[in-house]
Symmetry: C2
DNA sequence: CCTCTTTGTCGAAACGGTTCGACTAAGTCG
DNA sequence: CGACTTAGTCGAACCGTTTCGACAAAGAGG
């Protein structure tokens, strides 16, 4: 009488058994065209929609995926739009297949594990996407035990299905641009080593140098936390001890700090030193000068993570990692080297 | 045998009926201390946790709240950390009371309504938080029909429970700071009028002027989309026609455009013109000069939205709007007016 | 000592779906 | 025409919990 209509109401109105109504509503083949139509019409008339929890209970599928976000890279998630773009991509992939996304945010590793554990045990999601897999090992156990598929965003230290930017390529492309501008002594501003993306980007830097026949100088590889202030200090220190005409930074916020360090040292960007960084955000786009950057497509990261996850959920089988390319966006922080201008052939696309 | 333990397993192991086990596990008073302990111990032994969907089906509570985000203010949500901060606050409030958050993102008004409708009808959330209530009326109907409590983030055009920044106060505080710096002709760079926050901030601007006995000059109130480029154009145009020594912008990104316009017109910030904006983000903090801003606390917006929502869910009763104060953060874009320095008494907190 | 409450426990009936095995009425085949 | 498949439908069981009404035992009041 009062509440929403149930499948029983629909069945009654269509003059069929409940089971038949269920079959018809779910498009199962064994119902005759005629009954199917009657049932569908009845459902329409009653403005019926199935109760999510009841479905879940009956067939064991929650049609929900959990996004687990241990917020270890504070800056990345709270400041830039990274997270939002990720989420939008995830959400799109999920809705495409009738799934919804639920959140599990945690401020510490412990909290994240507790959240995951709870979610897995109450069977409130069919699978999980986990960002920031700095310490992935401990997670995996719980998932395996409960047969919950997992996809990581960002390459985890150990074997697991994941989606990530092709970080080697990302920095390779950026550094190559600098080389093509004629720079020969290129500093590399890295982030904390425990992140695989930092490791990979360093590799891309070395690769680019190697390909160009340039020497790899340990002294030009610096490391700082992912903040403008930390980057500033490191670059000031580097300036005092080394000569170079360009810098590649693994994050936009670090690049901002670097640019400030140059400015405070009386060096103009790009006239005296060129800068390329990863991530083309408002922060880098509207800094002065606008920074040439390798843009990442986080929405696609999220999208593919969910696609992979859903595949795993349905097929009960593991899948392969997916690597996404970055895209060089040439803005105002790079210029031909003044020291020695060689062929400059950067594709301005 | 195979699956996770159910409450039946727990009951059996504790030697009680299923119903008693349920009572004990949920801390209901009518179980004896002794049985309660036996049940709890059994649950512990079996590593039991209740099946979320089953609970939901039985008692009708999903213990989930839906976050609906019609992404109409593109910039706000995809670029700044706004959304992430909001989410973290929401998540915190939700987990505090054993709730989880599920996402419903939409790229258009229509899509958002469809998403909401589906969520409401499948009874997959106990209530909803809706951001960007530009066109709220159409939403409300669906919710009311299904008795789903809703809290808006941002003041909607029509009556409803909501949480918002105290936008009048936000700009009042910022403008007052400029006035205290001695500025008498202060331009106001507004956003699209259909947003209530723009309306309210303009009001705050007028209030501040009035309180200081300064005239309100229509010609100094400009309007642009929420992008740096749009702001740039509007400010260039304004510069050509009006004299002023300070500007208040309703968003950080617009302020960035304005600063650029000043620079390109040969005006130094803050020496020639002071700038204050709303929202103290990386973008404004690391621009040159760092912008004096009124910081908003989006995490608290999210937090209180959920608190209010949960209150409404539990008490079955409507609640009152909550307004959050902003906080003036003095950075490098404001300086005493050169024209006529009056008492400068800004609280540098 | 008998009745009336209180306390603790229990079985059974929801909640709203899906799925499985059984059944009937048509075809199909030889 | 009888035996065998097949298509379509149905009733019942099940998913894992909560909740309600019944009930026995114990304690209180007269």
């Amino acid at each position: 009488m009062s509440g929403s209509p149930t499948i029983r109401d629909v069945a009654k109105r269509a003059g069929v058994a409940v089971s038949t109504a269920s079959l018809a509503l779910n498009g199962k083949p064994q119902v005759s065209q005629q009954t199917r139509l009657r049932v569908l019409q009845a459902a329409e008339d009653l403005d019926y929609s199935p109760h999510a929890a009841a479905k879940n209970l009956a067939d064991g599928r929650t049609r929900t995926i959990g996004l687990v976000n241990p917020t270890t890279v504070e800056h990345l998630f709270t400041s830039s739009g990274f997270f939002m773009r990720l989420i939008r991509g995830m959400h799109r992939a999920a809705t495409e297949e009738g799934y919804s996304v639920s959140l599990h945010i945690a401020d510490s590793e412990e909290e994240a594990k507790a959240a995951i554990r709870a979610a897995v045990r109450t069977r409130s999601a069919d699978g999980f996407v986990i960002t920031n897999p700095t310490v992935s090992s401990s997670y995996l156990r719980d998932f395996k035990r409960h047969r919950a598929p997992v996809v990581f965003i960002g390459r985890p230290v150990e074997d697991a299905v994941y989606v990530d930017n092709d970080n080697v390529e990302v920095s390779r492309v950026g550094v190559r641009h600098l080389i093509e501008c004629g720079h020969r002594r290129i500093a590399f501003l890295n982030g904390p080593e425990q992140f695989t993306f930092c490791h990979d980007r360093l590799l891309g830097y070395r690769t680019a140098l190697e390909e160009a026949g340039l020497p790899y100088d340990q002294g030009l590889v610096w490391r700082s936390e992912q903040t403008a202030e930390a980057a500033y200090e490191v670059v000031r220190a580097g300036l005092a001890e080394h000569r170079f005409s360009a810098l590649f930074a693994v994050s936009g916020i670090q690049a901002v700090g670097a640019v400030r360090a140059f400015r405070d040292s009386g060096l103009a960007v790009p006239d005296d030193v060129s800068v390329v960084c990863v991530d083309d955000t408002e922060l880098t786009r509207y800094s002065i000068p606008p920074l040439t950057a390798v843009a990442l497509h986080e929405n696609w990261l999220g999208y593919w993570a969910v696609k992979l996850l859903l595949h795993a959920i349905k097929m009960q089988t593991a899948t392969y990692p997916v690597l996404l390319p970055g895209e060089l966006v040439i803005r105002g922080s790079t210029a031909p080297s003044r020291e020695r201008v060689t062929e400059v052939s950067g594709r301005r696309g």
